[in-house]
Subunit: 338 residues, 2 copies
């Protein structure tokens, strides 16, 4: 089987590996129908995270179950499934509290930019569709494996309420999905911070009512001008840098929450300023499995369509070009077809 | 009029000052019926905050309106009132969002350990009782001016829900009121972290179902043993030190919130650990005016009685002894009668 591997900074290769096998009786092997490249894949690609050269990469897949372990009860070969990027048993005490991203049997899709992928705790992790979806539905369903669920988690963590004014920091696929989540949760005014015209266009499609191109203090000042001088009711921080977090905290009105889903890279939280303005933060890795059934229903009903985050589709053997396109911001998000 | 002043570390004096006057047409002068000493007064008393020698001190009062400014419409001389420690117009855009602790006209009771005190924006700040309360009701009503509302804010910020397991870090008056707030909000299991027997007793009176005397990692470990190995659904941080915050974050289960109301002194937030466990924080100075009507109603109905936080009552001329008793932890909270 062919699988994408990372060998060093900006060194992406498609290699032939032995076929995957069922390692644990709770595993499933999924034949990948579509996968994609995540903004978070760019951290190791750019050399900003440590890597083990030659490791497979990619964590977002939809596909068809090929084989299941002896203890898998809910899925069989032929089922079309969405695989959350983080796997969970969905039955441990932490999962039962609704925080599947910290499951006591947490696992991850690794090597999803490939022909096949393994999912741990398949019964807990996977969600299936009632039949095989149309090809046109694949991109939206694929977005549910990570970016849409992560944008949703940002909005839920920021406690977006009906009628709220919401600011979204970050115009990657997650930030854009955060705009869509805020709209779906009833936000009245949604301000997307973006300086890239194609992303601004997607943000507007997803429900953004305003766009701010400035960053940092100027960006926060622009937010004040749009929010009665006080800031937003909820802010989604979808980047993970210290600058983005500072902007998010500044854009929040007193009493607001910042929902943060960008993996923190060098973030320092100004606790005294947060205390002084009663601005809180919450977030982390999204408990995808928690949200997936509702997001799937909303997607199939046409209430949400996150597919516009994919603006480039490539065959798997052009995966290296896909990384280059995202690295150079020529593409928002690249869908890969094995 | 007599007023308590702080002249240096552990140098509390009761002095004669000129009578207060109405400075702004929105002011009220209140004759103090009861005031008290706050845990936060101990920071400057102990020399841990900068002070201006001779400044009046004290911010918690109940009393009778003596005089009002020309623009005060809702109050008149003779009204019995509770004065939130932080004053607000209760009408600016921030107040209308429910965050009166960041009012655009924020003020504070200063010099409340005195015979008279001034309240800014009286119409926005004050809440009155329908008649003059009995002497026996005074301590509970006085607690609403700060500590009960602050404990309530911790519980609200930590999103305490019916059936939750709640941990309270800090056994000062605010922490104890946090226990009472958690009970009132429907928490099922309430674990108070305290090593002081008299405070443990008040915590149990307020609804604590368990007491943990250990601190730090040992304390967090003890929490795990009481919470199915995962930690608490909500944690109230009512101290303000870095150790207390670390304990609070460790005691929280994945997906939980820490509500923090202790003014941070040297706190550093471990953002990556918070992200990794999806543990959020929210809090700050309590928007007392927001909570006061409901807390007053609950107090008058007998649903809550925060008065046990006061375990020493002194005449105002023994205020210095009151500070010593609290500094040496001989008293939880001292009530002063002018």
């Amino acid at each position: 089987m062919r699988v994408t591997t990372l060998h060093g900074t900006r060194d992406i290769r498609l290699e032939d590996h032995p076929d995957l096998t069922i390692d644990a009786p709770t595993d499933a092997i999924v034949r990948v129908v579509a996968s994609c490249i995540c903004g978070s894949d760019l951290w190791p690609y750019r050399g900003e995270n440590d890597i083990t050269p030659g490791d497979p990469i990619g964590h977002e897949i939809v596909g068809v179950v090929e084989e299941v372990g002896a203890e898998v009860k809910e899925f069989k070969a032929g089922d079309f499934v969405i695989a959350p990027f983080c796997h969970c048993d969905n039955s441990c005490p932490v999962c039962l509290k609704g925080m599947q991203a910290a499951c006591q049997n947490l696992g991850f899709t690794t090597g999803g930019q490939a022909e096949y992928a393994r999912v741990n705790f398949a019964d807990g992790s996977l969600v299936k569709t009632s039949g095989t979806p149309d090809a046109a539905q694949i991109p939206a369903l694929l977005a549910l494996a990570d970016v849409m669920a992560t944008g949703w988690h940002a909005a839920v963590s920021a406690r977006v309420q009906k009628g709220d004014t919401v600011v979204v920091v970050g115009d990657g696929a997650v930030g854009l999905c955060g705009v869509l989540a805020a709209r779906q949760l009833g936000a009245e005014q949604i301000i997307a911070m973006s300086r890239h015209e194609p992303r601004q266009a997607v943000a507007r499609t997803f429900g953004a009512t305003g766009i701010i191109a400035e960053r940092g203090k100027e960006g926060a000042q622009a937010v004040l001008e749009l929010t009665n001088g006080i800031g937003a009711d909820a802010v989604l921080e979808c980047v993970g840098t210290n600058d983005a977090m500072r902007t998010a905290l500044r854009a929040a009105r007193p009493g607001a929450m910042v929902g943060f889903v960008g993996v923190p890279h060098g973030v320092e939280l100004p606790v005294n300023a947060m205390f002084g303005r009663n601005v809180g933060i919450a977030g982390g890795m999204a408990p995808v499995r928690k949200y997936l059934p509702d997001l799937l229903e909303a997607t199939l009903a046409g209430d949400i369509d996150p597919s516009p985050v994919f603006d480039l589709t490539l065959p798997l053997d052009q995966v290296a070009e896909g990384y280059r396109a995202m690295d150079e911001r020529r593409a928002i998000k690249v869908l890969l077809e094995p």
